[in-house]
Amino acid sequence: MNPVNYLYLAALLFTIGATGVLIRRNAIVVFMCVELMLNACNLAFVTFSRLHGNLDGQIIAFFTMVVAAAEVVIGLAIIVTIFRSRHSASVDDANLLKL
């Protein structure tokens, strides 16, 4: 099967993730969508790696995972803090800062 299809899939996933970020309110879900986007990138990397026949892409995918993990740590920490102080994980509730 043509590996290029994986690219389309990656793009699709990425778009889904982005859309999720735009339309979901729950901070956790939003964050998950970001993760989804990252993973879409991973897919793309791996596919290209396959196409190019070099391993860089695959290695990069690992880096991405590490970074994603780090982001999860920080992100969840922040989200949890704000949840505890606001008793809501909705990103729309947090808009003291505006204009």
């Binding site: 290029v4 690219l7 990656a10 990425f14 993730g17 982005a18 970020v21 901070a27 939003v30 964050f31 970001v34 986007m37 990252l38 879409a40 990138c41 793309a44 990397f45 596919t47 290209f48 790696s49 196409l51 190019h52 026949g53 070099n54 391993l55 860089d56 892409g57 290695i59 990069i60 880096f63 991405t64 970074v67 780090a70 982001e71 920080i74 992100g75 920490a77 922040i78 989200i79 803090t81 704000i82 505890r84 102080s85 606001r86 990103v91 947090a94 808009n95 003291l96 800062l97 505006k98």
Partner: protein, 550 residues
Amino acid sequence: MSSAASVHSLWTAAADAPQKIPAPHIEYAQLSPTLIVLGAAVLGILVEAFLPRRTRYPAQLLLATVGLVAAFAAVIALAAGGYGTDKAHIAAMGAVAVDGPALFLQGTLLLASLIAVFTFAERRLDPAAHGRRVDSFAAQGAAVPGGEAEQEAVKAGFTTTEVFPLVLFAVGGMLVFPAANDLLTLFVALEVFSLPLYVLCALARRQRLMSQESAVKYFLLGAFSSAFLLFGVALLYGYAGTVSYAGIADVVSGTTRSVDPALASTSGNDALLLIGGALVLMGLLFKVGAVPFHMWTPDVYQGAPTPVTGFMAAATKVAAFGALLRLLYVVLPGLRWDWRPVMWGVAIVTMVVGAIVAVTQTDVKRLLAYSSIAHAGFLLAGVTAASPDGISSVLFYLVTYAFVTLGAFAVVTLVRDAGGEATHLSKWAGLGRRSPLVAAVFAVFLLAFAGIPLTSGFAGKFAVFKAAAESGATPLVIVGVLSSAVAAFFYVRVIVLMFFSEPRPDGPTVAVPSALTSTAIAVGVALTVVLGVAPQYFLELAGQAGTFVR
């Protein structure tokens, strides 16, 4: 990084002898600035872990200061050693560039961070809690605002000395960011300096809700943008088969042969290149706060603890613009005719929006946030010049801007009332009468922002516009001067408020800072004036540093 570098060696070695993997060759000496800072950061963690609470603050402060100074010394040494000019080359097996712009920006970053650290460490502004002097960071970041946990934390005299290692980590990332010579390193560095910043934003002692909100916004949007950047990286990788700047540049300019037919389907496919490039650009533009990726800036600047805001505003811009320059001048010079018009557009929109929206701001920190957006626009005007002059002018502008910004935010921390910092402009009325000195200093910074002659701001603005004009971007210059005219309005408004209107009875008091903040402000003023009156030396420096290594 080192591991990243080994990737390449692995693959290149994989062809003949997969069994023995040669260790990558790392020039530790030339990476020393970064390594020192990161090392200090790690030590900082250990300090947090093992030292008693009493001694942490001095230890951390000492550690941070020493680390940054040492790193700065290292940068100087490298520059003196000629790595900025003739010995400039790519270190760590293609991962990091050691060249003029890198060293120049690293030096700037380190100085700026040092000053920022001073403001972090300031403990005389907030009224002492239970007899203990406190800084502007939450007693316990995790405690619920206003909850009893927080009360106890305060009573117990907790302080968040973790901020120092966090800052150091951020600085470490920033040092790599403008030096990164392949897209992976770029991405990693981006995350390395972003993640600590997210945390720092959440740690304000006063108005914690705002602080946390700013952190969430910054985090979500930051992650969002880095996802875009990463996708861009992926596409570029797909286009060129490599993530190293030089490699991509070669493919762009068509000098390399495509590796094998299998690549034909993607390699040299301009769609990938252009989209990928655009996405990576977007990631960087987000960090520099360019329109339309600027919307996080005001909220975050306002919500974050003021020292952090100052640090972000100064250091992040320096680092991000460094990376942007390298990307555009090293990776995409072949595409100049594609990206320059686009960047023109971005620059114009950024200048105009930043200047105009700032006009109606009522909060000092938000005002400065928008002003920083406008300045990002001016810097972009210099970036688009696509000429050595462009590079050096941007470098110079970054220096001037960084220190003015730090100074300005440092002053903001001084003006306080019962609720902490009095950032609402109406409270600044008549400040010139209450404390002429502080007001005068702030006025100097504002004038520098406005680009009045004899301040550093003017020299910088003149430099970038000159570069832009010489590269034929006349319309950009016109828009630039017009928007600076608009911008002048709101700087002047603040001055009017401070000097020409009567002080309010319930007006804020101006806290007398310790030597730390005083130093920060003093340095800011000094550089503002020096760079304004006699910029020649720094211009030359920037000029020498104005060439990227390929």
